[in-house]
Subunit: 186 residues, 2 copies
């Protein structure tokens, strides 16, 4: 079928939802982020992409620490709330039960099935957004989310987000094993 040019548009793809935690003004704060990715394997580095105007950014820069928490679908309302209300206006420090690891200024969410505490190692700046590169110091989960001692994505039950239609989604059905299902494709 004929290709349609739809401008220099952001592609529609399933963005993984995370809650980024940081200490701002000496208080825990959480921001919903859909733009983030792993960026290095050894050491494990991840990048979270945040619009420059956000309250969270100053806290990350000041303490050089932050957390990435994967919310489950059951947490969709609290997760969405963290994207609608700014830390400039509202104290978000009591929304969740909070725990800390080695880094004393990277607040993590107890209700979250999986959390990483990160040390800021680099910041990359673009026109509207800042990218915070964090080294994962420790990852935390719970027995109920593990299978064979590893975090299990179906038990974690994460939230996806799509732009334009502005919708949250669950993970769907399993469609194949990687490095296997397409092995003899050609």
């Amino acid at each position: 079928m004929e290709k349609i040019r739809i401008g220099s548009k952001i592609p529609v793809y399933p963005m993984p939802i995370a809650l980024v935690g940081a200490h701002v003004d000496n208080k825990p704060n959480f921001l919903t982020v859909a733009w983030w990715s792993m960026v290095n394997f050894k050491p494990p580095l991840l990048a979270v992409v945040i619009n420059k105007g956000h309250y969270t950014n100053n806290g990350i820069k000041e303490n050089k620490t932050f957390s990435v928490n994967i919310p489950s679908s059951d947490m969709v309302k609290a997760t969405d709330y963290c994207s609608t209300v700014s830390g400039f206006e509202e104290d978000k420090s009591t929304l969740f039960k909070i725990f800390y690891g080695e880094l004393k200024t990277a607040p993590m969410i107890e209700e979250s099935p999986l959390s990483c505490e990160c040390k800021l190692i680099q910041t990359v700046e673009f026109a509207s957004h800042e990218v915070f590169i964090g080294e994962i110091v420790t990852t935390y989960s719970e027995e109920q989310y593990l299978t064979h001692e590893r975090p299990d994505i179906k038990k974690i039950n994460p939230i996806l987000y799509s732009m334009y239609d502005n919708k949250y989604w669950k993970l769907g059905e399993h469609i194949g094993v990687a490095m296997h299902i397409g092995k003899n494709y050609k």
Copy 2:
């Protein structure tokens, strides 16, 4: 429940699958990528994260162009094939029907519901991976994947990937409208 420290591990989250296209040795080549994200809104910039050893990297650096193609779940075998076989060993230029936009060295996949041609504007290097920052020049889709003239994620039917269990997944059910469902959470 008690938190378990699972080391400085990469978090388990639903990674969006893309096929990155580039001209390498004057031929189209495609690599499956699970680590990528938008990194800026205006202009629209995306970052694709690729292990340094890959065949694709030299092509992106040489031509300063690449494409990001969102495969549908129907393309899971071809998509997986592109992750199992290196361009160093195998010619992947005939796997898909290919089209070009303004950038003559950013091959795009006709079978893919959504493709972006990108101009390389920056490279960020980490220990094992390189991050290619591309400005989206034009995004392409087809009538059958649009709703109200915008790409529709359910029609695109993308592929997600989870580490450790090494599985591909479909997008699941809709669980809420963003900036809305959690508005009155507190």
